[in-house]
């Protein structure tokens, strides 16, 4: 007999994939509890803010507030704090993006005003371990947020509401009028 799930605080979680996280190859991403403030502290403000900008340029949604990208990148809080290898990877990756932006567009990455130009910078680092890690992790950490779901029209958990049988599972008729 079905029992409704307990409401619980949304958390990221660690996939028990011992050894399978090949960040460089964009394998299964690891996920941690997001903490934007801690991530900013661990990485340094400039790096953190540029990383947020990079995140938005990787998956640009004009209807998403900055907070959604900050939370997405905030999953690096623990890793950046305790794992020197990860911290360096991120800091050096951001520094590389800045350096290319300066040489091509005379501005640090976050100050390059045209998105197309910033994407151009990202394309030139697309094959780097830094980019592959960020993109692979973001695809989970950005899109796993209920606030993002709400923006995209995805209603999330449904069993506790009785499923969709009485909540519009077949409510569209436009396709029958063609």
């Amino acid at each position: 007999m079905y029992k409704p799930a307990e409401p619980k605080r949304r958390q990221f979680f660690k996939i028990a994939t011992a050894g399978t996280v090949a960040s460089a190859a964009g394998g299964l991403p690891m996920m941690f509890v997001p903490n934007a403030a801690l991530a900013e502290e661990a990485l340094g403000s400039d790096t953190f803010n540029t990383l947020v900008k990079i995140a938005r340029d990787i998956f640009p949604h004009d209807r998403f507030g900055d907070d959604l990208y900050k939370n997405a990148v905030g999953v690096y809080a623990e890793q950046a704090k305790s794992d020197e290898g990860v911290r360096k990877l991120i800091q050096e990756g951001v520094a590389q993006a800045d350096s290319i932006a300066k040489s091509k567009f005379n501005a640090a990455y976050a100050q390059v005003s045209n998105e197309r130009d910033r994407v151009h910078v990202l394309q030139s680092i697309e094959a780097t371990p830094f980019f592959k890690k960020i993109r692979g992790d973001l695809v989970v950490s950005l899109y796993n947020q209920p606030a993002v779901w709400a923006k995209l029209g995805y209603q999330g958990p449904s069993a506790q509401f009785g499923g969709y049988i009485n909540r519009g599972f077949n409510d569209q008729n436009w396709m029958d009028k063609l």
Partner: protein
């Protein structure tokens, strides 16, 4: 938890508790045969299911390390995730979508009907559709398949309504909401479908058939079935006469046990089953237990698969309702005029935002990708499931150096498409695009195959011992009291989802095992 049967009891030992192992276990228990199922995963019940894609993925998926090779894109995008299958009591019946289709008659005789296909290791099954038909009948009744036994088909959700409207425009004739083992009315002590939309995360209403809450508890109630979870089979032992004697297994605390067996049945899905046989090599079986043919692990098939998502001007809310909500069967015919042998089914599919972001186009980024995600609520989707060609080189092998937590070689999954697979996929993309555009799609996205949810063929049935691993009963050619009971038995993959056939074979195999035991042949 106290064991019901003693390690020294010569029971039937089944490895795996999914569609094959779970069904076989119950069938034998109903006949009074003492049976132990060893399930590597934990026991999660319905109350443990969450309507949440990533947490459930983490909770129930088989995530022990695997490597991949070959030209398949899965190897590039998900190098350590060749398959998405379940490590838990119930096996992949916990997360399957419920599609329950019979094979077509010619699909048992593909070598004869398709002829010689260069590079393909086609072989006729040693059984025919009419051999299996009475067991398909029993399986459909057991599972409560809609469209059979007077069970009404499920109502169509929006995603299906788009598919059906497009099918009509395309002139397709054979489409409906599917033969699904999901209750449309209460049946067999389980409720009816609430269109929850998280079928892949475990059915919270129990409407979808899963051995976890059907076969296994029914078998346990007879007193003849014991399911040991957190019990990963490591090695099958045999005696000097070549008969298997029992199974060595380990738990996650580092304990190991040896359960004696009168009969051993391997049903760990198509990566672990051959791996176990290979890891059970001995001086008598230097290439792996029951592997005189060299075919253990070979002929790995994952179906020609791909998905197509289409974006419309109007909302679809495809996530509302069953993950797989309908089917177009017209293209599943064998019609070489299309440029390939075999056929494919078109089945609706929906993923939530989290999974769609990860799988829509792995590796993609930028506005091309984000504008697709922005249109999520106006998306319809389908999954193409077609017959892929068995190739000897597509195989599960033991990794040369890497070992798992038990010190055993991990599996490598090698796969490359056959040209027939590619031609079929391109045709499927073209037809799906035309279907969606006929009802107004503004944008159509081709999605590459996911980590495989249909894994088949790696211990295949054959009439002759040199061509395969098991005979028409799933009994290994080499070892009389050793059986294979999962989809690794499949000689070919057909164009249909495999579960109904796995269940039918398990019911039939139970009859054979019981008969043989009573005649003291086993």
């Amino acid at each position: 938890m106290a064991k019901k049967f003693d390690l020294n009891d010569e029971v039937v030992v089944i490895i795996g508790s999914g569609a094959g192992g779970g069904t076989l276990g119950n069938e034998l228990a109903q006949k009074g045969i003492n049976t132990v199922i060893l399930e590597a995963g934990k026991r999660h019940e319905i109350s443990d299911f969450e309507n949440d894609e990533w947490p459930m993925f983490s909770k129930i998926s088989w995530l022990d390390k695997r490597t991949t090779s070959g030209t398949w894109r899965v190897s590039q995008d998900f190098p350590n995730l060749p398959a998405w299958i379940v490590k838990a009591v119930g096996g992949s019946t916990v997360h399957w979508a419920g599609a329950s289709l019979r094979f077509q008659e010619h699909e048992f005789r593909t070598r004869t009907v398709y002829g010689k296909v260069s590079g393909a290791n086609l072989l006729d099954w040693p059984i025919t559709l009419s051999d299996l038909a009475p067991y398909y009948d029993k399986a459909e009744k057991k599972m409560g398949t809609t469209g059979t036994n007077g069970i009404p088909r499920l109502p169509g959700n929006n995603n299906y309504k788009v598919l059906a409207a497009g099918a009509r425009k395309m002139g397709y004739k054979d489409f409906h909401t599917g033969n699904m083992s999901i209750n449309s009315k209460p049946r067999d002590g389980r409720g009816s479908c609430q269109q929850i939309g998280f079928c892949f995360q475990g059915c919270k209403s129990g409407a979808k058939w899963s051995t976890l809450y059907t076969e296994i508890p029914k078998g346990e109630r007879t007193g003849h079935l014991e399911v040991r979870s957190d019990a990963q089979a490591l090695k099958i032992e045999h005696d000097s006469s070549g008969k298997v004697t029992g199974v060595l297994y380990g738990d996650s605390n580092g304990n190991q046990y040896f359960q004696k067996a009168r009969v051993v049945c391997v049903a760990g899905n198509s990566i672990e089953s051959p791996r176990l046989l290979l890891n059970s090599a001995s001086s008598m079986f230097p290439n792996g237990l029951a592997n005189s043919s060299g075919q253990v692990g070979r002929n790995y098939m994952r179906h020609m698969t791909a998905s197509v998502y289409a974006i419309f001007e109007n909302p679809v809310h495809m996530f509302r309702g069953t993950t797989m909500a309908g089917i177009v069967k017209d293209e599943s015919r064998h019609d070489p005029k299309r440029g390939f042998v075999g056929g494919y089914e078109m089945e609706t599919l929906s993923l939530g935002v989290p999974f769609l972001a990860a799988f829509l186009n792995p590796g993609d980024w930028g506005r091309d990708f984000s504008t697709a995600m922005d249109a999520y609520d106006n998306m319809a989707g389908m999954w193409l499931v077609g017959e892929d060609m068995p190739q000897e080189s597509n195989a599960i092998t033991l990794h040369a150096t890497e070992k798992d937590q038990f010190g055993l070689p991990i599996p490598n999954v090698h796969f490359s498409d056959h040209p027939n697979d590619g031609a079929m996929r391109q045709h499927g993309f073209k037809q799906a695009k035309a279907l969606y555009e006929s009802v107004g799609a503004k944008r159509v996205i081709f999605t590459p195959p996911y980590p495989s949810t249909h894994n088949l063929g790696t211990n295949r049935m054959s009439a002759k011992a040199k061509d395969g691993v098991v005979n028409k009963w799933g009994q290994t050619h080499d070892v009389k009291n050793l059986f294979v009971s999962d989809g690794s038995q499949f000689t070919t993959g057909a164009s249909e989802n495999p579960t109904l056939t796995i269940v039918a074979l398990a019911i039939r195999q139970a009859d054979y095992i019981a008969r043989s035991m009573s005649r003291k042949e086993l």
